[in-house]
Symmetry: none
Subunit: 185 residues, 4 copies
DNA sequence: CATGAATGAGACTTCATTCAT
DNA sequence: AATGAATGAAGTCTCATTCAT
């Protein structure tokens, strides 16, 4: 497993480091050292650190997208799905020592010149937003109302993540979960 | 006005830069160049870049605290205060080109070793949380319920800031505002 | 005692620091901080760091000269004086955690441009050399022979100091003492 | 010859500078300028200035060790070897403008935190001490007595180096040489 | 006598990237 | 595909010294 090809090893290593310490706090040297690759091997696979960041965000998105798609198609009550969604956030925050959202964290240090990164962030966020709108639509058949409700839950979800990270406490997630479920009924 | 003393010039310059580009993206060199000071003058006033960051966050906190205290003591309906609070957030986001919350953004790149910074973030966030709980308490006399409502609005506020920044759009603030007011009634 | 005048406080503080860490390892800031003086007060009393170094070496010399003069004039056998001289060196090395000779240590980092410092070193060393020659002359009445013997003991003394410092062990002093006394008889 | 690889060029350049001016008086900038390398190239090869110092001391030790081993195994009278040993010191002092022992000079500015450097100094000094003890053992078959004699000559050697450096004169070496040979017979 | 702000030069170290092999 | 050496620019921080008050 440690002997995956270099490209994957780099992506995995960088992912862990970017996530834990933040994109701007992790250097190429640290990545290649931990991934046990040579410097030039890195640039063979990724044209730049920024490109690696994009690859990482894309990778995370892919995996999280799958889980949302599954959840969306599961045969349980929509309200239950919202509960599960926040439960997943809760265990994610606790397991990651409250590191928060990789996308928001990366966005916090990305200027407007980082077009690729900003695009990844936007599309990931829109994807979650869409997911929540869809769950709401499974509950309310009024598209308009479902969208509004979804957006509200989206904002709650984001605030829960952000403040749980800032305060290193889990209550924001619990508060958001309760609020979301109340809005839902 | 441009000829304030060096310490203030540094703080102001650094504040603008930290806010716009993120703490980790701004170097001492850039700060002292824009503040028109010598490097050693900087270190005469601030023992480290991290200390400057703390001074900046403290400064921002001080000014924002004043505005919240004023708002809290104003003689208008609590629901109105919530509206104003989100209106201020809206214009702040728009005026700052959606740069978002200085505290959350700084927290995104601060490891657990940055004790001073993390403390500033925590206390600022708790201060806003307390403010919102107090406004709610002016509306509902049940302390328990007021606290829960305040915390929910706090989460909405944070999510609005974060996602407005991520998407460079204002709708999250508007959604949060509407949701908060609806929870309020 | 802590409230001696600034000039003396600076000299004493710098002396301790220069001795313990070496002239080049100690900065003006550290000195004035520990001496509780302002920076400009320092430059009022000493025109430069180098001048302070000279004052320190001169001060040390003065005090050590007194003890040698006393010893020279004491009414004991010359061989006994040599023994006492090395005994003093021994306790000095042990008490100072084997920091060695302030003069040699300073000379190790002083280029030929530091005229004042180099002069201090030279005259201090010549003073010790003269002292040893005189003690020998008290023992042998042949001036020529006394000088040679004195110089040999001087070299033993220096080697003892240097290697005791290098090895953080006391045996070089003991070896030198025994050798000196043997040469003496 | 000027176009050796960067690592060697750095080591050689730094060696010359450290020797001539003292470890603490030489900066990385001066080294890389004279070695015609980039700063980052330096840190590719040596993790720190201190590590470079260790490499330098180790290099010097290696070369001096060879010459001592050769001398020890030469087929001449032991007393002759002592004479040669001091002759070498004499020409070294004269050729180097009385810069003295790289190890003692470095030790004069190395705090107890410089473990690697202090180790190099100790082992170099012990190596010379052992050499002198062995030469003496070739002369006296009594191990005990040979050790004591060797140690005395070691102290003379060190004192000669130190004071020749301090006074910028060669007589301490000559005095030590004569004393050593006299002890020897 | 004393002070604290100001400074140019330089300290050591790391950055993301490229090149020859 | 992989490697290690090389790099210019930039990173944070400290140096001894001066000046206005």
């Amino acid at each position: 497993m440690r002997k995956a090809n270099a490209k994957d090893r780099i992506l995995q290593t960088a992912g862990e480091l970017f996530f834990r310490h933040g994109y701007s706090e992790v250097g190429i040297n640290e990545i290649i050292a931990k991934a046990e690759t040579a410097k030039a091997s890195f640039y063979q696979h990724y044209p730049s650190k920024e490109a690696l960041c994009e690859a990482w965000l894309s990778d995370v998105h892919g995996r999280s997208e799958i889980s949302r798609t599954e959840l969306l198609e599961t045969e349980v009550a929509p309200s239950k799905k919202i509960g599960i969604f926040f439960d997943q956030l809760k265990s994610f925050m606790e397991q990651s020592e409250f590191r928060g959202c990789p996308y928001s964290n990366t966005g916090a240090v990305s200027g407007s010149e980082c077009v690729g990164i900003i695009d990844q962030i936007r599309s990931h966020k829109e994807s979650i937003r869409t997911f929540l709108r869809e769950v709401c639509f499974q509950h309310i058949s009024d598209r308009e109302k479902a969208n509004i409700l979804g957006d509200r839950i989206f904002v709650l979800y984001s605030g829960a993540t952000t403040e749980s990270q800032n305060l290193k406490e889990i209550w924001p997630v619990e508060i958001a979960r309760a609020a979301a479920l109340e809005l839902f009924s």
